[in-house]
C-alpha cells in the first residue's frame, strides 16, 4: 500500500509549489483539500488533488516553525486562497502574496494571536471584544442602504450574518459572515482510536452523517491498509443514497415553501418522515448513524426497496404539480443564476455545480462501487433556482433507481463473519495517512486522516462541499431582488456546521 502511495505523493519545496500546482490545475486536476499539520519541529502542509477517474496527487510542503511562510496560490485557484486563509487562522502560517490575507474561519472574538490548531494552543481563551470588527465593504451611492440579517434568525436555522447593500429592492452586494460556531471538531478527533471517532464523524454535520462517516472510514482504511469487501462498499453506497434521498426530498418541499407554496412542503415533510422512519429501521437511527464502522458496514434490517420506490414515485408527482404551477415556475426561473464560468472558477461542487452545467460527481469520478446501468449524473444548464430544483428532482429518481442494484450487491457477501477491526494498537508499524473521497448529498466531501504508530488519530482534516459552495451564493445574487434571497439561499442550502468545524 505504502509503495503505491509513494507514486502519487511528492515532497515539494515552497518555491516550487506554484509551478507544480499550475501544471496540475492546467491538466484537469482539482484542488480537493489542504491540510495543515503542526509536527512540533515544523509545519507540514498537504495539498491533495483529484482527477477523474479515481486519480490522486498529493504535494507535501514542509515549513520551519519559527517563520512559517507559504507562497500563496490564490492567483491560481480561488479555493486555494480560502484554504490558505484557513491555515493562517488555525496555524498562523502566513500566505505570502495573498491578495486578501484576512481572517476566514477564526471567531471574531478570539485574540488575534491565538491559533487553535497549534500543538501548544491550549484551551480556548476568554472572548475579547470584537475589536478588529468585520471588514464589510460600505457601498455608497444615492439610495443605497444596508440590511443586516442574523446571525440569529426567525426560524430554527444555524447562525450566519448576511449583510445586503441594496438599492430599492435590488441587491448590489451581499456578504455572508459565517464562522460563529467553531467547535474545534478536527482537534476533538486527535488522540482517539478510529473506532472511537466514528461517533464524532457522524456528528460533524447532522444531515451528512453518512457522507462524513464514510469519508472518514475510507481514509482510515486506506491508512491502515484494510481491504474492503464489495458488499460493504455497496452498503455504504446504499446508505449514501438514502441520505441523499431524505435530504433532497426535504429540499424539494422547502424551496417551493419559500415562495408560499406550502402544500408541496407539507407533502414532502410527510415523505421525509417516512424515509426517516425507514432509516431508523435500517441502521437504528433516523439520521442513519450507527451502521458504518471501520472495515465494515451493517444494517439492522435490510432496506425496504418498495417503500423507497413508492416515496420516489410520490416525489415525482409533487415535483410535477409544483413545476406545473405557473407562479412557482416564474419565481424559480432566472432567479439567482450562478454562471458556469464563475461557478467553475469558484470550484463549486455537488448539485450547485451540476445545476450550472458542471458535471462533477465523485460517484462517477472517484467510484468505490459499480452503481449499475441506471446511474447517471444529472445536470442542468440554467444555473438558477429552477435548475437546482430540477437537479435535485432528477437525483431523487436516479438514487431510487440504483438502489435495487446496490441492494443486490450489498446482500451478495458472506455477511456476519468478518473479523472486527482491532481497536487497540500496533496495526500500522509507522505513521500512516489516508484520504477518503465521497459524493455526499451536498457534493464531494473529503477527509484526510493521519494515524500514529499506536493506531491513534493524530490529525483529521475535514472538507465539506459547503466550504467550496458558500462563495457561490453572493456571486449568484447579482441582479437578484431582496425578497428572492431566502429562495436563492434555500436552493443552495449549504451547511454551516460542516463549513465551520
Amino acid at each position: 500500500m505504502s509503495g503505491e502511495r509513494a507514486a502519487y505523493r511528492e515532497d515539494v519545496v515552497p518555491g516550487a509549489l506554484g509551478g507544480k500546482v499550475q501544471a496540475l490545475l492546467g491538466s484537469g486536476w482539482r484542488l480537493a483539500l489542504v491540510a495543515g499539520h503542526d509536527d512540533g519541529d515544523g509545519f507540514r502542509v498537504v495539498y491533495s488533488f483529484l482527477r477523474p477517474v479515481g486519480q490522486r496527487r498529493e504535494l507535501v510542503v514542509r515549513l520551519p516553525h519559527d517563520q512559517p511562510e507559504l507562497p500563496s496560490l490564490a492567483g491560481l485557484s480561488y479555493p486555494a486562497g480560502r484554504f490558505e486563509r484557513e491555515l493562517r487562522d488555525l496555524f498562523g502560517i502566513e500566505p505570502v502574496g495573498h491578495p486578501l490575507p484576512r481572517g476566514l474561519v477564526r471567531h471574531g472574538h478570539w485574540p488575534t494571536t491565538w491559533h487553535p490548531m497549534l500543538r501548544d494552543a491550549g484551551p480556548m481563551p476568554d472572548f475579547e471584544p470584537d475589536v478588529g470588527s468585520y471588514p464589510f465593504v460600505h457601498v455608497q451611492g444615492d439610495g443605497v442602504y444596508e440590511i443586516p440579517v442574523g446571525p440569529i434568525h426567525a426560524g430554527i436555522i444555524e447562525p450566519g450574518h448576511f449583510r445586503f447593500s441594496v438599492v430599492g429592492e435590488t441587491i448590489l452586494r451581499m456578504k455572508a459572515r459565517l464562522w460563529f460556531v467553531h467547535r474545534g471538531m478536527e482537534r476533538l478527533f486527535e488522540g482517539r482510536l478510529p473506532s472511537e471517532a466514528i461517533e464524532l464523524a457522524e456528528r460533524i454535520s447532522g444531515d451528512t452523517a453518512v457522507g462524513h462517516t464514510v469519508a472518514f472510514v475510507q481514509a482510515v482504511e486506506e491508512a491502515l491498509g484494510i481491504p474492503i469487501d464489495p458488499e460493504v462498499a455497496a452498503r455504504r453506497a446504499l446508505l449514501l443514497e438514502l441520505e441523499r434521498l431524505y435530504n433532497h426530498v426535504a429540499d424539494l418541499g422547502m424551496i417551493p415553501n419559500d415562495v408560499g407554496f406550502g402544500i408541496a412542503h407539507i407533502h414532502t415533510q410527510r415523505l421525509r418522515e417516512k424515509l426517516l422512519r425507514h432509516n431508523a429501521a435500517v441502521t437504528g437511527h433516523r439520521l442513519l448513524r450507527g451502521g458504518i464502522t471501520v472495515g465494515d458496514t451493517r444494517f439492522v434490517r435490510e432496506p425496504d426497496l418498495a417503500l423507497v420506490a413508492g416515496v420516489a414515485a410520490e416525489m415525482a408527482e409533487i415535483v410535477a404539480f409544483t413545476l406545473n404551477h405557473s407562479v412557482v415556475t416564474d419565481r424559480f426561473t432566472g432567479t439567482a443564476v450562478l454562471r458556469a464560468d464563475l461557478g467553475g472558477s469558484l470550484g463549486v461542487l455537488g448539485y450547485v455545480a451540476r445545476a450550472s452545467g458542471i458535471g462533477v460527481d465523485a460517484r462517477r469520478d472517484h467510484p468505490s462501487v459499480d452503481l449499475g446501468p441506471d446511474f447517471s449524473v444529472v445536470t442542468q444548464e440554467g444555473g438558477d433556482v429552477l435548475s437546482r430544483y430540477a437537479v435535485r428532482a432528477g437525483e431523487v429518481a436516479v438514487s431510487a433507481g440504483i438502489l435495487p442494484h446496490l441492494a443486490e450487491l450489498a446482500s451478495g457477501g458472506a455477511g456476519g463473519e468478518r473479523a472486527a477491526y482491532p481497536v487497540t494498537d500496533g496495526t500500522t508499524g509507522g505513521p500512516a495517512a489516508g484520504l477518503g473521497v465521497v459524493e455526499a448529498w451536498r457534493g464531494t466531501l473529503c477527509h484526510w486522516v493521519e494515524l500514529a504508530p499506536d493506531g491513534r488519530l493524530t490529525r483529521v482534516k475535514i472538507v465539506d462541499p459547503s466550504f467550496f459552495n458558500w462563495p457561490g451564493l453572493p456571486v449568484a445574487l447579482a441582479d437578484t431582488i431582496v425578497p428572492d434571497f431566502p429562495l436563492a439561499n434555500k436552493s443552495f442550502n449549504q451547511s454551516y456546521a460542516g463549513n465551520d468545524l
Binding site: Y145, E146, I147, P148, V149, H153, A154, G155, E169, P256, D258, V259, G260, F261, G262, I263, I266, H267, R270, H325, V327, V328, D330, R331, I481, V482, P483, D484, F485, P486
Partner: protein, 312 residues
C-alpha cells in the same frame, strides 16, 4: 336607536373577526393535511398578547404604542361605517365610499410609520413595500365602488347596497361582476394574503405586513393584530354584502337584526373559507409582479366604470 344598531354592528364585527381568522387558518390547515391549532387560536393569541407588557426597541419613539391605537380606531370606524349588518347609518358620519377609504388609509399610513419607528432595516423595507401596494390598491377600491355607485347616483355605501337589495338583477350585471372581481383582488392585497403577501412566513426578507410589526410586542402587538384583522372583516364584509346583499337588515327591528347577524356571519365565514381554500393552491408572486396583478385589477375596475356608463 341608530347608534345602538351601529354599536351592535361593531360588537359583532369584533367578536366575529378572530373567528374568521381562525376559520381561515383551520381550513387551510385541514386542506393541507395538518391538524391545525383550532378555530379559537387567534382569539387566544390576542387575549394573551393584550395581557402582556410591550417591550420597545432602544430608540423607538412614542409611535410604537400610538400606532396600534390609531390602527384599531381606524379599523373600528371603518367597521362601523361599512354596511355589514344593516343599512342604517349615523347622521353625523357619512358612510360615504370616500370616507371609508380615507379612514382605512389612516390605518395604512400609521402602520407604515410604525415600520419606520424602530429604525430597523426590516421595518423600513416592509413600510416601503406596504406603501407601494397601498398606492396601487386605493385607486382600484375607489374606482370599483364608484362603478357600482354610478347606477345609484350616490357614493353612500348604504344607498348602493339598498339599491342592489331592491333590484337583485344589478348584482349579476357586467358592471357589478367586473367591479367585484377587481375589489376581491385588492382586498387580498390590502389584507396581506397570498399571492401578494404570505401571512405564514418566517422569512423576514420576504415580508410585507409582518415586517412592519416585527418590533412590536405584548399589548401593542395584540392591538395591531386585532386592528389588521378588523380591516379584513370590513373589506371582505363589504365585498360579500355587495355580491350577496340578501339578509342585510333594512330596518332597525330586533328580528331583522338577528337575521342580518346570522346571515352576515355565514356569508363572511364562507367567503373566508373560500379564500383559505384558494390559498392552498396559490404561491406568492415575485414582488415586482405585484404591480402587474394590481394593475390588472385596476383595469377591471376601470372597464367596470366604462360599462356602467355604456350599459345603463
Amino acid at each position: 336607536m341608530t347608534a345602538l344598531a351601529v354599536a351592535w354592528q361593531i360588537l359583532v364585527a369584533v367578536a366575529l373577526t378572530p373567528v374568521l381568522v381562525g376559520v381561515m387558518r383551520q381550513v387551510r390547515a385541514r386542506l393541507e393535511g395538518r391538524v391545525g391549532a383550532g378555530v379559537g387560536q387567534p382569539w387566544r393569541d390576542v387575549r394573551k398578547l393584550l395581557a402582556k407588557e410591550p417591550l420597545a426597541a432602544e430608540g423607538a419613539g412614542p409611535l410604537m404604542s400610538a400606532v396600534p391605537v390609531i390602527l384599531v380606531i381606524s379599523s373600528l370606524v371603518s367597521v362601523a361605517l361599512v354596511p355589514l349588518l344593516g343599512i342604517a347609518t349615523l347622521a353625523w358620519v357619512p358612510d360615504d365610499l370616500f370616507v371609508v377609504v380615507s379612514v382605512l388609509l389612516v390605518g395604512t399610513v400609521a402602520l407604515a410609520l410604525l415600520g419606520l419607528e424602530s429604525g430597523t432595516a426590516f421595518g423600513g423595507m416592509g413600510s416601503s413595500r406596504h406603501m407601494m401596494i397601498a398606492a396601487l390598491v386605493e385607486p382600484t377600491v375607489l374606482v370599483a365602488v364608484y362603478a357600482l355607485s354610478v347606477p345609484v347616483g350616490t357614493t353612500a355605501l348604504s344607498s348602493i347596497l339598498q339599491a342592489r337589495m331592491s333590484d337583485p338583477t344589478t348584482v349579476i350585471s357586467p358592471v357589478s361582476l367586473l367591479a367585484l372581481v377587481a375589489l376581491s383582488i385588492v382586498v387580498l392585497a390590502e389584507t396581506g394574503r397570498l399571492p401578494v403577501d404570505n401571512p405564514a412566513t418566517h422569512l423576514e426578507l420576504t415580508m410585507v405586513h409582518e415586517a412592519m410589526i416585527l418590533e412590536s410586542s405584548g399589548r401593542d402587538l395584540g392591538w395591531l393584530e386585532l386592528g389588521s384583522w378588523l380591516r379584513l372583516t370590513a373589506l371582505l364584509g363589504l365585498v360579500v354584502n355587495l355580491a350577496l346583499p340578501w339578509g342585510v337588515a333594512a330596518d332597525l327591528g330586533v328580528g331583522a337584526t338577528v337575521i342580518a347577524t346570522l346571515a352576515f356571519s355565514v356569508k363572511l365565514l364562507i367567503a373566508g373559507s373560500m379564500i383559505a381554500a384558494a390559498e392552498v393552491f396559490l404561491a406568492k408572486v415575485r414582488l415586482f409582479r405585484v404591480p402587474e396583478l394590481l394593475a390588472g385589477s385596476f383595469v377591471l375596475a376601470f372597464l367596470s366604470v366604462t360599462a356602467s356608463y355604456l350599459l345603463v
